[in-house]
Symmetry: C2
Subunit: 192 residues, 2 copies
């Protein structure tokens, strides 16, 4: 990684933190300049426009998510073990500072047309596809019944995660994670 790339990474981390506070829509070159103490012209040179900045912040979060959650899970055996690893990774990811920035952006931009929303749509589809694919591989492995609907499982598991996000971040409910795990167990038991 060159020095320019490292700077860009640091700025994008800072921008991600800012976006969690003011929303992705509130993330502007100006607000990022105030947050980082960098010049607006320097940031323009890095990011070009507000929209490009927002897209790059999203990409940065998606890359981190892939590295921290998806890739380690893919090292686990196919089917149920990989699904559990995906879930554990997501839970750890959403439990760190600020929670999952993609979750917040999803609810912020669900009614705002444009390239940033399109990017989120593509990412959410990828995420549900990832879950459904792992469920399908679990059917091949004999972990899940052949009537299991991988798309249904993906929407259900997404729900377990979103409810965890609300229970832990908004309500600070100490039972949030234990309930989310029981939610996954119930989905696995129904499919077994």
């Amino acid at each position: 990684m060159g020095r320019g790339d490292a700077t860009r990474e640091i700025i994008l981390d800072e921008a991600g933190r800012l976006a969690r506070r003011v929303g992705l829509g509130g993330l502007t070159i100006g607000s990022l300049a105030r947050q980082t103490g960098m010049s607006k012209s320097g940031l323009f040179a890095h990011f070009g426009s507000k929209e490009s900045l927002q897209l790059q912040v999203l990409d940065h979060a998606i890359e981190r998510f892939t590295t921290e959650v998806v890739r380690p899970a893919i090292k686990e055996p196919r089917g149920e073990p990989r699904l559990r690893a995906l879930f554990d990774g997501w839970l750890a990811w959403d439990s760190t500072e600020g929670g999952c920035p993609l979750v917040a952006a999803t609810f912020e931009l669900d009614d705002q047309p444009g390239p940033v929303r399109e990017h989120l749509v593509a990412n959410q589809r990828d995420w549900l596809d990832t879950i459904a694919t792992v469920v399908s591989s679990g059917m091949t492995e004999g972990h899940f019944r052949s009537e299991t609907d991988p798309r249904q499982f993906a929407q259900d598991l997404d729900g377990v995660m979103l409810a965890y996000h609300v229970a832990s971040r908004l309500l600070a409910d100490p039972q949030a994670a234990a309930r989310a795990r029981r939610g996954l167990d119930a989905l696995l038991a129904a499919a077994a």
Copy 2:
């Protein structure tokens, strides 16, 4: 309802629509003045401050939610029928223009301390309490097993609803509602 109240209702509806677009945090007396064509001084007379405006928009949404979702459900028999009515009412509510404004605000403000967030926390607790109480009454009625955990059910059902919100609003998935109904059916079957 007096004329002043009716005006206030109309402004609060408009403010709710604006908040769904710009977020509750982006809702200011100034932006509402531009949206409605009313004077800022007139709006200040109605709402006093940005924070008071945000709190009243939240209250207005909660009142509408109570009228449109909770009260009709309470007319249904206790336990499972009431739970299904609550779910159907919520699904219809989230499927109208803009989707549930409380869902959007929940994810927007989960990390922003202050009275608006506290109001949302209280409302989310009330909502989970409502679900848990209906589940408990279903245990008394013999619809659900005595080992059923009403709090677990409430978090699980909240997840089914949140995943529906994402699948329908962000992804425009035509299967979103059918899958949410199957999600509820699975929860009911597991508790039966």
